[in-house]
């Protein structure tokens, strides 16, 4: 492969990048080849010493944060013809509506998750609270001679406290699981955008 072919191959793999970035990369690799040629190698030998275009671009992409790639993709779209811009503006009620709808769904999903987590916490802690209150009530019942009622409250209180203590351990696991799930959803979305 000679220098020109190498650079063409690199360029073809940098489709997600801005023209400025592409030019910078091409200048860089072009310089690398030229310097090797100056050292006495032929263009083919120089290219052979370097990473293949695929390896080279993979390494470069690896280093670019995903947010930058999305930014690149968005800024790319600014190089539009006038008719394309008009089309986008005219169609905005449609795609804007769809986009807002998608965000709405995502927000609703997150809010639901948050609601479930909150409800779970509430259940666990109210069990604890109920348990403690029942025990207090049962002790108070002793003073008004309501012994059966007091015994019932005491028993119920212990059950609640027991449940509370065992569920307490799960609260942390559940929270972590939810966080992981949300992260996974976001990563999935980023990957979809990248395609």
């Amino acid at each position: 492969m000679n220098k020109e072919e190498y650079l063409i191959q690199i360029k073809s793999r940098l489709k997600g990048f801005s023209q400025e970035d592409i030019d910078k990369h091409l200048d860089y690799f072009s310089e690398m080849i030229d310097d090797r040629v100056e050292d006495g190698l032929s263009e083919e030998e120089a290219v052979a010493q370097m990473d293949t275009p695929e390896e080279a671009v993979n390494q470069i992409i690896e280093d670019v944060p995903l947010t930058k790639m999305i930014e690149n993709k968005i800024t790319q779209k600014h190089k539009l013809e006038t008719w394309q811009i008009i089309l986008i503006v005219l169609g905005s009620p449609l795609w804007l509506g769809l986009l807002l709808g998608a965000f709405g769904i995502l927000f609703g999903f997150l809010a639901t998750l948050g609601g479930i987590v909150f409800a779970y916490y509430a259940v666990v802690f109210s069990l604890g609270l109920a348990g403690v209150l029942s025990v207090i009530v049962s002790v108070a019942s002793l003073f008004v001679a309501k012994y059966t009622f007091g015994a019932f409250c005491f028993g119920a209180g212990l059950i609640c406290i027991g449940l509370f203590l065992s569920l307490l351990l799960t609260v942390k696991t559940v929270s972590l699981a939810i966080v992981k799930a949300v992260k996974a959803v976001f990563t999935g979305i980023k990957k979809m955008i990248n395609k």
Partner: protein, 108 residues
């Protein structure tokens, strides 16, 4: 080696390659060769990162009717190298501690 660790190390290596004298891409690779093999694809993101962090400056010089990019270390870059040297001393101390314990156990 841990990827994050390697990244940090390579940044420092490139800085060290240009600490005494400004240099250009291919020359940096050649200078590092006795110590490690680094490809241009690995070097490129490093140079970009160093420039973004203002640890190096880039300028172009005409050479054989083409433009060649030269890299110059900044004061911040020199300070990074100093930090690395003191970090290394700490690492050495830790390494000594870790290996000394093993030696003691072997003697027992």
């Amino acid at each position: 080696m841990d990827i994050q660790l390697k990244r940090g190390m390579l940044d420092v290596c490139v800085l060290a390659a240009i600490k005494d004298e400004d240099s250009y891409g291919y020359q940096i690779i050649k200078d590092l060769k006795p110590y490690m093999e680094i490809s241009e694809s690995t070097l490129y993101p490093i140079l970009k990162r160093l420039e973004a962090g203002s640890l190096i400056e880039v300028y172009s010089v005409e050479h054989n009717s083409r433009l060649r990019k030269y890299y110059h270390i900044t004061v911040a870059g020199l300070m990074r190298l100093q930090d690395f040297k003191s970090e290394w001393k700490e690492l050495e101390a830790i390494y000594d501690f870790v290996t000394r314990k093993e030696k003691d156990k072997k003697d027992e």
